[in-house]
């Protein structure tokens, strides 16, 4: 069992259809800690000792957020700035996060086709998230490919329900260590790597 910490960042959750639905799955899952950054720190005054303690208590970190201007919401940047201190998370003495796993779970309004080299946005998701990926690599963590939920602008309520089921299965697979990380680490997204395993509960 991996101890999973979801670092959630959405400045206007009340306006989000998809994230609100996804979060309803979390309370029913054991062994998963939910950390709502905009709820805890509406004034961006992040409690660094609290955040560091949380990181130490968990094995796998999920950064869940919508895509804003090809990047994370502002508070996640503030969190990276202040929590991943030199001498604690990185640097010659900073080894506290060594070996822990991390992945981004991101929603975008546009469809998957837009995030291709020949697509509208000209770069892939993995490329857009490189600053985050490299930050955690500098902290000697194992970075998994991002899990993508594309096309939220046009999503029907029925497909949101489907997405929520897959989200729950993903969390269960990660928590129960049923994913072989070495084989998928270079894949473009976790969705591609897991494929049909999210469609059926008992694979």
């Amino acid at each position: 069992m991996a101890r999973v910490l979801i670092l959630f960042a959405h400045p206007a959750l009340e306006k989000s259809r998809v994230h609100r639905r996804l979060l309803r799955e979390v309370p029913g899952l054991t062994g998963i800690t939910f950390n709502d950054l905009y709820e805890h720190y509406p004034d961006f005054n992040i409690d660094v000792p609290r955040e560091q303690a949380l990181l130490l208590e968990h094995d796998l970190l999920i950064l869940q957020h919508p895509m804003f201007w090809y990047s994370t919401p502002a508070i996640l940047k503030q969190w990276l700035d202040l929590v991943l201190e030199h001498g604690w998370a990185y640097g010659s003495q900073g080894n506290m996060l060594h070996g822990k796993r991390v992945l981004s779970l991101v929603t975008t309004g546009g469809g998957a086709m837009a995030y291709q080299h020949e697509g509208y946005n000209r770069f892939t998701m993995r490329e857009f998230l490189l600053p985050v990926e490299q930050s955690f690599r500098l902290c000697k963590m194992v970075v998994l490919p991002p899990y993508m939920i594309h096309g939220t602008h046009q999503m029907t309520l029925a497909s949101i329900e489907q997405i929520a089921v897959q989200y729950r299965r993903l969390l269960e697979l990660l928590r129960d260590d049923r994913i072989d990380i070495n084989t998928l680490i270079d894949q473009p997204t976790l969705n591609v790597a897991l494929g049909a395993r999210l469609e059926h509960a008992d694979r």
Binding site: D43, N45, I46, D47, V48, P49, D81, L82, V83, L84, E85, H86, G87, G91, S92
Partner: protein, 632 residues
Amino acid sequence: MSSEQLFQAFIYLAAAVAIVPLARRFGLGSVLGYLIAGIIIGPFGLRLVGEGGEDVMHFAEFGVVMMLFVVGLELEPALLWRLRAPILGLGGLQVLVTSLVVAGLALLLGLPWQAALAIGMIMSLSSTAIVLQSLAEKGQLKTDAGQSAFAVLLFQDIAVIPLLAIFPLLAVGGIDGHTAEGQHGAQTLISALPAWAQTLAVLGAVAAIIVAGRFLVRPALRAIAGARLREVFTAAALLLVIGIALLMTLVGLSPALGTFLAGVVLANSEYRHELESDIEPFKGLLLGLFFIAVGASVDFALILGQPLLIAGLVAGIMAVKFAILFGLAKVFRLSLDQGLLFAFALPQVGEFAFVLFSFADQNGVLEPAISGPLVAAVALSMVLTPLLLLVYERVVQPRFADRNRVEREADVIDQQGPVIIAGFGSFGSTVGRLLRANGVPTTVLDIDSDRVELLRKLGLKVYYGDATRYDLLHTAGAEQAKLLVMALDTPEKTLELVHTVKTHFPHIKIMARAFDWGDAHQLIEAGVEYVYREALDTALRMGTDALHELGFRAHQAHRAAQTFRLHDDRSLHELSAIRAQQGEYLSAARQRIEELEQVLLSDRQDRGLERDAGWDAESLREEFREVSGAKG
């Protein structure tokens, strides 16, 4: 006051105090408790009260007048207007159909048509006091059935006026109406006037109540409230009710109807809660007294003399009324459970029947041999009503439980704000404005009558009253409130309110305004989780600006203040714990100085709150120097 009167008062109060809590404990409700208490001390029980019982009932009937006033206060004019169809349609049909059916049955039993019609009309009435009190106690007054029952009772109150006029015409021997002297008797100041002048006087009295309620009573109450003498305001409230009752009696209308009207007119006023909680205790006591008197008046000797006849009468009357009520509920499209509640609530015959029977006796409409058993049956039907409602609650309602719960919840949100704001000065009003700007309904209580008046002119809904009083909190809907925002002007009042709320409404989250460290400590000790020192944020903002003026970067000063705020909060709670250990040893002044010293020392020692190291590259530079030093 003679010792005999004192003894009577003692007996009534003792019976109420001893029996009513027991009745409630066993889930019987207070009305049944009072009725039982009355039976116990009455002529058939311990014989502690005797002939005086009837006088007590007449006196205590004023409780019904007060109750209608309070009911009116809770009924805004718009809601009354919506009820016009049930009042005229449902109420009118109920009185008409019941009168005719009962009269027809009486004719079949061989009574002359005049007597039959009189009995029919009397039996069509129900007991306002018992029904409204029972429904209110169970919180069923706002349900469909409750509203319909209320509409019917209101119509009956109006119908009494023509009934009193018709009775002398039914007199077999042609005795003239002037000998009659019931409480609502025909003898009034204006009875000598011609009919058109009487009508004019009645309409004038009603108009006077509406106009005076709107334009005279509110400024008067405001002036009285400005004097800040509680008992004078209570006196004014009583004066208002008694004055209207007097006026109504003079023009021959029902006093209950008049005070009800006055209540409706004042329902939108800022003094609604205050008037309600002032009248409430008097109303409760008088109604209690009234129910005891009803219980004591049940003539068991007569009942035991003709048990079958009386039982048949009671069962027959109640069955007929029940069937008609349920049928009308169907016609007026009440749902099944609400229709049943409506029919279970109203099948008794009302207290007004006692007056009408004696009136009919005097008019020679009925013979005592007929009215005697009927009076006993009426009293029994009243005593049985709380039992019937109990049957509904225990047996019938559980079958509809789910549907009812949903309705009730929606109602609560509709009626009362989840937030009560106590004190609407500059502090409380800012909180209230922020909540309202975001669509959160609030109930505001304030003690400053000038301010209440001003805020109301600006269109805010503010009520006048001392928020530390339990009954005011109760009427403001504290049972349903989630949050109580305390923004009172003094620490003493704030603490008093905290204790009241912690005792009576422990479910409410308290957010309290504090003034300095001292009363913040007291609030924390009293168990308040959310304590807000009023000067803290402003002082920190000023300090931030001071740092900025001295050359700090704006964001640096801002972060310093954010950090200091957390530190300050931590110190407050630490010192609060220390203070609890020290107890009362230190004088307050000495304690303040010591605390200031401790706070100043800890301001410089608290290093646990350094949070911006991530933006400080000093350690990184050091590491680079070491690496390049090793190389070079």
